[in-house]
Structure formats: structure tokens, C-alpha cells
Amino acid sequence: MAGNSGEARDHRKEKPRVTTFSCGNCGAPVTVRYPGHSLSAVCDSCYSVIDTSNETFQVLSTYFKKASIQPRIDLGVRGELMGKTWECIGFVVREDVASSFKWEEYLLFNPYYGYRFLTCNNGHWSFVTMIKERPERFAAYADFQNKRYRLFYQGRARVHYVLGEFYWRVAMGEEVSMADYIDPPQMVSVEDDKDSRVWSVSEYLEPKVVSQAFELTGESIPRTIGIAPNQPSPATATWRKVGPMWALFLVALTGLQVFHCMLAKNIIEFRAPIEYVTKMDGQFATSDAKLPEFTTPEFVLDKDNANVEIDINADVDNSWLYVYGELVNADTEELFTFERSIEYYHGYEDGESWSEGSKTTSIFMPQVPGGKYYMNLDFDNGGNSQANMRQSFNVQVKRDVPTFHNYFWCLFLISLYPIFAWIKYRQVEVARWSDSDFSPYQSSSD
């Protein structure tokens, strides 16, 4: 088929017939591989641009001799890219007019498939195909074939250096206005000169793909710097997959939690105020000290192995209340013990009010068998402003309360990897956009 018509031939070795003529400016021989097809060619010796559309080989422009720039891919070399054979016939170095940042462009040709460009920007290669379709342009993005591309670069590009032959009349110093829109690994670009507008699509190529295709060695293999505008990032790809999954899990987990809370009966099985006599000072109970005691009447905890929450609420005020409790199964004598101090202090110092501690506490018991229960409570207190006052604290026992423990743990565990993935993704994208005036990660250009 086309590109390798007939028997299998080695395109890398086979060379077309070439036309050679004398440069009208300096007389040096100039070789054109595709006369008639190539409209202009550059003299290797004096950098004059010569019209090669017909055999008069008129000099279009002469140029002062520049320090020569060596193309990484030699002119006339063929290589296979994107499944087709391409011959490198032209080399252009262009620069951003504002920053003088330079990049290389190689004109590739295949008589069956036409022209392509291979660009080398900061050592990163892209394969560029001109398109007839016109992406729709907006202020900060462009839409093309149902994909949205973000504006990355806008500026003017100037031809800095040329070698080889071209299908247009090339001119050093020629300027076009350009814009690049990215959606890695693709980029769509638009170039406008005074009477034409050309759109193209660039596909990022791994450095070794180009090195292998054109058998680059040593100095010709560029060193990549940074992250290219259209370089695909594994971290970004991972985040794109993990992010939505994470969101889905969060929604599902929250839904489950809501469902769980709705199912929880949350019944108050016992509730009573318990009186005590205040002390002005006091000490935490030692094992031999005799404490006031209270034993509750029996109450029933139904449903097997549901949780129990015991809430204690005391009106402590710059004082403390200590409670030691035993939840006792009346049938099996099984004990569930707890111990708490409730303290609340507050004051006004150096023009600021402060407070510390809390008037309430809750004890959570994850699995308590069903049955008849009573509670023994020992308590002590101290720090009250007046002694021998009657005070009370409230105790309530709740069965089957909604819990958030598991929910928060799951949330935490599920989020560990997505948060890590997001950080990696963000690092790459911030680096990618650091070269752009349109970075979504910076408030304004600096």
C-alpha cells in the first residue's frame, strides 16, 4: 500500500532523485529533493532562500550569515513515526518574540500522506498534524472534537533560523501570532499570519520514540527540561481515575451512615438525677476511702449486642465531680465499669475570659448483651465555693445510639490514597503550568 507500495523496501536507505543547482547568491550547489513540491529551499552556505517552484531558481531573500545551528535530525533522513515513514526535509528554529525562548521544528514529508511537523521544545518532542477542521475558540479554552483544551500560550513566534526545503516560501524573521491549547497528550494550536489561519494538533512523543525512529545518538538526543505543556502525566491520569471514585465512595459511605443513623433506635432506658453534698476541698478517692454510693433500679436493655451510651451531666462550676460506675447484668453479674471526672473551670484574666473542661461526659460501650441491668455509682466532689450544699448530677443510659466512629475511620482510610494522589497530581500540574501566563494555579502573572 501507500508509503510502502509494492514489495517491502527499506525506506531509510532508499533515496529519491535529487535536483542540484547553483545558488543565485553565492554559487554554492543547492540540493532539492522535491522540486516543484517544495516551493523554497535554503542554501547551506549563504542562507539565501531560493524559489524552487520552477527551474529559474530565483533568490527570494539573502541573509547575513548566522552561527549555524545543527539540526538533531539530519535533512534527508527517514524514520518511522505513527506507523508511517517520514523524511525530514526542513528545519526551522522559531522563537517567542517576547521572551526569545527558542524551539525546533522539523518538517516531515511523505508523498502519500503529505506534511507533518516534529517539534522539539525544552527537549520534549511532539508530532504535529495540520487540520482543516476549526476548533471553536473561547477566551480561555478551545473545543475540538468533543474535547476541551485549555489556553496555555499566546504570543508571537518569529522564524529565527531555517535549513532545508519547504512547501511555502520560508522567510527568516517572519512572524505569526500563535496560541496553544492543551489537553495532554494533545495540544491544538492556531497560527495566524496576515492572510491565513492554520490549525494543528500536536501529539506528545516519548523521547525514545523519536531517538529510535531517526536513530539519534549522543548530542542529538535532547535532554528534557521540566514538564511539557502536552506531556501526559501518570499522576494526573491516576488522579482522574481516583478522584471520581473517591467522590463516589464518600457519597456512598455518607449514605450508609445516614441509613445507619436512621436504623439506630436511640432509646433512653434509664434516667435519674442523683444528689450529692458539696465539699469545698477534697481529694480524689483512694481505694480505702469511703465514697457516697448510689444503686439504680433495674432496667432492661433489649436487643442483643447493641451499644450503650452513658451520659453524665453535672452542674460543676469551678469544681469537680468524680464518678466511678459499674453497669451490672442482673442475671450474669457481668460488669462494665467506667470512671470519669467532670471538671469545669472558668474565669477572667488579663482582660480575657477563659474556660476549661466541660459539664458533661459520655461513656460509650460498643457491645453490651441484652438483659436486665442495674448500675452502681460511687462519686466524690471538691472545689465547690460552699460546702454542704445539696447538688445533683444527671445520669442517663441510652441503648442503640447512632455512632460516627466507624464512619470517620472509614472516611480517613478511604481518603488516604486519594489525598496522596491529589497532591502528586497537583505537583505535576503546577510544574506544567509554571511556564504559562494562563496558569489556573496562580492568581495572576508575575
Binding site: M1, A2, P16, Y34, P111, Y112, Y115, S196
Partner: protein, 209 residues
């Protein structure tokens, strides 16, 4: 298909399409104009100097699931290059179309009968042209062209040097249109398609490839 004799050399000149009125004798390169069953010699076609097209008379391909064959060609030049228009005939019903070939871009297009085509002096690059029912098109460029070569059979007199103005337009979804302003105005609408999609056969051998 009818076969007539070249008035200059007597070799057979084939007309596969009823619409063809012009041909170039493949043996002696005499250009002929057909008047029903008579051929009138009108000139000679000079050979092309540079040729790098993958196509030739007899190349076949597929477009829109229908197979076609190339039976004629006009090569035109403009200030900044040239392009080929290959006259094609579709096997099943004899419908003819044009395969436009320019700098590696390929499009198959068909003549449309549209009386509302704007005059050339009112359009500019970027102008919007509506060609119902084919939709909106944007003018890409307007070029003065002249015929530098023709071969095979053609529905128009395509003598060397024939001048016209050619307007290229692009639409949505790979659609394209072209308007030729010569003694008559003819408009064509078609679609860009990749080389491989045409499944070409009997391509020309290109030296070195």
C-alpha cells in the same frame, strides 16, 4: 463507455462518463473536444516537469462505501503552489465527483446545483456562506489559478492556461466546499478524508518511496 478515435493519431480515446466533453489522448497528448460522437483536436498537452502525486488515471478507491475510479485530472497552479483535481466516476451509477489533492489533504466533492452562490466580489476570507442543505461554510482562501496540466477525460475544457478564481471553504465535521468562478460558476461540496480511509488501489509508484 464509448470509444472514439483520436483525430491526430487514431488511437482510441475512451469516454466513460457521459458528462465528459474534453479529453487528452494518452498516446499523442492531443487535446480533444467532444461534439457528440466527433472529436475535434484543439491543441497539445505539454508534459509535466515535476510530479509527486500518488495518484494516476486508473487509481481506484472507496468513498462513502462506494467504489470509484479516477478517469481524469486537472492540475492547477496558483502563486503559492498547486493542487490536483482528480475526476472520478463511481462504478455503480456513473455518478462523477472530484478528488481534491492539496499538500497531503484529500477531499471528495460533488457538484451542487445552487443558484444562490454569492458573487466573487462580495466574499472575503472568513466570510460565512450558507449552502442549503449542506450548512454553513467559512471562506478559507480566494485564489487566482491557472491550469498547468490535464489528462484523461474531463467534463470541462481544461486546456493549459485556462484561468479561473477558486474559493476554498471549510464547514463543520470535515466538510468542505469549493467554488470555481470561470465563464460559469460551479460549486462543489464534499468531505475531507484521510488517505488510508480511501483504501486506494493501483497507486502510482513514486521514485524512492
Amino acid at each position: 463507455m464509448i470509444e472514439l478515435s483520436c483525430p491526430a493519431c487514431g488511437a482510441p480515446v475512451a469516454f466513460r462518463s457521459k458528462a465528459s466533453v474534453f479529453a487528452v489522448c494518452s498516446f499523442c497528448k492531443t487535446t480533444v473536444v467532444r461534439h457528440d460522437t466527433d472529436l475535434e483536436a484543439v491543441g497539445k498537452m505539454a508534459e509535466l516537469q515535476y510530479e509527486l502525486t500518488p495518484f494516476q488515471i486508473g487509481t481506484s478507491g472507496v468513498y462513502d462505501k462506494r467504489s470509484f475510479q479516477i478517469i481524469g485530472r486537472v492540475k492547477v497552479a496558483y502563486e503559492d503552489g498547486f493542487w490536483n483535481e482528480w475526476y472520478t466516476i463511481f462504478g455503480d451509477d456513473g455518478e462523477t465527483g472530484w478528488l481534491a489533492e492539496a499538500q497531503g489533504f484529500l477531499a471528495m466533492c460533488f457538484e451542487i446545483n445552487d443558484k444562490s452562490i454569492p458573487k466573487i466580489d462580495v466574499i472575503r476570507p472568513g466570510s460565512d456562506v450558507v449552502m442549503p442543505p449542506h450548512g454553513h461554510f467559512q471562506v478559507e482562501d480566494i485564489r487566482k489559478v491557472h491550469c498547468i496540466f490535464s489528462e484523461g477525460e474531463l467534463p470541462v475544457n481544461a486546456a493549459q492556461g485556462r484561468r479561473s478564481n477558486s474559493v476554498d471553504l471549510v464547514g463543520a465535521n470535515q466538510k468542505m466546499a469549493t467554488i470555481e468562478y470561470a465563464d460559469t460558476v460551479r460549486a462543489f461540496v464534499g468531505t475531507y478524508q484521510d488517505f488510508d480511509e480511501f483504501k486506494f488501489e493501483n497507486l502510482r509508484r513514486i521514485d524512492g518511496w
